[in-house]
């Protein structure tokens, strides 16, 4: 096996270039974060992250990211289902539009959603009739995060749904199960890993999201201030150690999320390979 691979040239060159660029762009900068935070004492670190304002920004970040990803988990499954199982006019356009949050700069999404959901906006004006404010509240943050996260769930669930063997549904149908029962008992269990993957990816992305949120949030301390924004304002005051400490917490949170997603994804890959 090993001898076979050696036949192809270019191992040294390509691996060398890969490692060199990886080091300059990713490894050294990330290491500098670790080095910088290693210079701080534990009490300093605890001091920074237990500041009430920082704690409440964590709460806002995690809460809104969680709720938004939950909404996306449900809507993502609905959209994937509709796109895979049904035919309807505009289907191709809808399918393409799902990717919009990947292509549209976050800042543009941010100002557009703000204009739309402010009291003077089209959607905001409608909800204002019922006394619901969207822009400049946590609801607004959640709306922005739903926008950012939706393609992650749809694109995770869609391929699994496409490859799902219809024989199981057929069997369940023949045995007399209703469509609702088939969905809950036969289809959904197969989708769970994919939904979790999509949820996790969306959640990870939402935790760190800045561009789309900063406009719609209003950025009120203790109310609508997210953790990335606190990092940003610490940086503007040249308080690099506080910024780094908060960044470290967020980094750990997103790595843990990614790790969990990877564990589930390995299982998911098996289903994808076996289901065709």
């Amino acid at each position: 096996m090993k001898r076979k691979s050696v036949v192809i040239p270019g191992f040294g060159l390509t691996t060398g270039v890969t490692l060199a660029i990886l080091s300059v762009v990713v490894l050294i900068p990330l290491a500098s974060l670790v080095v910088f935070s290693a210079q701080m004492s534990a009490s300093e670190i605890i001091d920074v992250i237990t500041r009430p304002r920082v704690l409440s920004s964590f709460k806002v970040s995690f809460l809104t990211a969680f709720v938004a990803s939950l909404i996306n988990a449900v809507m993502g499954v609905v959209l994937a289902w509709v796109l895979v199982r049904y035919t309807f006019p505009l289907k191709r356009i809808v399918d393409g539009t799902i990717e919009l949050p990947f292509a549209l700069p976050t800042a543009v999404a941010g100002i557009a959603l703000t204009a739309l959901t402010a009291d003077t906006g089209l959607v905001g004006g409608f909800f204002a009739n019922f006394g619901i404010k969207i822009a400049f509240t946590r609801i607004g943050i959640t709306v922005a995060l739903v926008f950012i996260g939706i393609p992650f769930v749809v694109r995770a669930v869609q391929p699994v749904l496409e490859k799902l063997d219809p024989a199981y549904e057929e069997a369940a149908g023949v045995l007399g199960a209703s469509r609702t029962r088939i969905f809950w008992k036969v289809i959904l269990p197969e989708l769970i890993p994919a939904i979790f993957t999509g949820f996790g990816l969306a959640f990870g992305r939402c935790l760190g999201e800045y561009g789309s949120v900063v406009f719609i949030a209003g950025n009120m301390p203790f109310e609508t201030e997210i953790a990335p924004l606190i990092i940003m304002s610490e940086l503007q005051e040249y308080d690099y150690s506080s910024a780094t400490t908060i960044a470290l917490v967020m980094l750990v949170a997103s790595f843990v999320t990614l790790f969990l997603v990877n564990v589930v994804q390995n299982r998911n890959a098996k289903i994808l390979k076996g289901g065709s």
Binding site: L13, T15, P29, S32, R85, V94, E170
Partner: protein
């Protein structure tokens, strides 16, 4: 595929009409409200005060400078990530070596890092409190609050975009063809150009489009590292932010509309490439 299942199962897989129509309705409503309406809003806000105001905002000196800087940063991000993506994909799929899995994980790492943190790490690496800052200053190299920093941050956030598209294609291709070519005496670059590249052409283009899209739109990371110097380190998204925060809503949306048009262009290019790639 779907026609077979539909004819053999009939009403069973289709479920009731009410469920079907309400799910389609819900999806269309969601896509319209969350995705389409924001786009329409950008365009209508941009033209709120007529075409003259719009074109003045778009043709503004600062806007032009921001467009040029955005193009510059995107160009470098695509170029570096192309070199990196091709090398990484070749190395990871054509050879077996220790630490391969770790390498693949490290390459994917940047997408999980918050853009703000991405900016922060470059600030820490090259900024004033960095050990190499004095060296950079002696050599008269400015990275932080200057164009090189913006370029670096942009490369970071788009880092795995090209390699990620290439690796699965090359992996499924295997190494037989390259081995045969190598045994017959072809040189490395010839093998790549004649054998490998035709297979990955569409995946590569797809990756380039994704990379360019993200690079043009990057906001958080660039925002941290740029220092917001108008006309100097202001990219298009940052220019939108400045205008918006100065309550210049019409110019802000006018500049944003350029980015919206680019986004739509990218989506169209994406689906064309995906379609062509699938046909193959």
């Amino acid at each position: 595929m779907s026609t077979v299942t539909q004819s053999s199962l009939h009403r069973d897989t289709k479920g009731s009409k009410i469920v079907r129509y309400s799910l389609i309705g819900l999806s269309l409503l969601f896509v319209f409200l969350m995705l389409i309406l924001p786009l329409i809003t950008v365009i209508t806000e941009a033209f709120k005060q007529g075409f003259a105001v719009y074109s003045k905002a778009v043709a503004d000196d600062y806007t032009i400078k921001a467009i040029l800087l955005t193009l510059e940063a995107s160009f470098f991000a695509v170029a570096i990530n192309t070199v990196f993506g091709l090398c990484a994909a070749w190395s990871l799929t054509k050879f077996k070596f220790k630490g391969k899995k770790i390498l693949a994980t490290l390459i994917d790492l940047p997408v999980t890092v918050s853009p703000i943190i991405a900016g922060l790490i470059f600030l820490l690496t090259f900024g004033r409190q960095s050990p190499i800052f004095s060296l950079l200053q002696d050599a008269d190299i400015k990275i932080v609050f200057a164009v090189p920093g913006i370029v670096l941050a942009t490369i970071f956030v788009t880092f795995p975009f090209i390699s990620r598209e290439l690796i699965p294609v090359l992996e499924s291709q295997g190494t037989d063809e390259e081995e045969a070519a190598a045994l017959m005496g072809a040189k490395g670059f010839t093998i790549f150009r004649r054998i490998t590249f035709p297979h990955i052409k569409w995946a590569f283009l797809y990756g380039v489009v994704l990379c360019a899209a993200r690079a043009m739109g990057e906001f958080g990371a660039v925002s941290v590292i740029s220092g917001h110097l108008r006309g100097k380190t202001n990219t298009l998204p940052l220019h939108v932010e400045i205008l918006f925060n100065e309550f210049q809503y019409v110019p802000a949306f006018a500049v944003a509309s350029i980015l919206v048009m680019l986004a739509i262009l990218i989506l169209v290019a994406r689906s064309v490439i995906e379609h062509k790639g699938r046909k193959k």
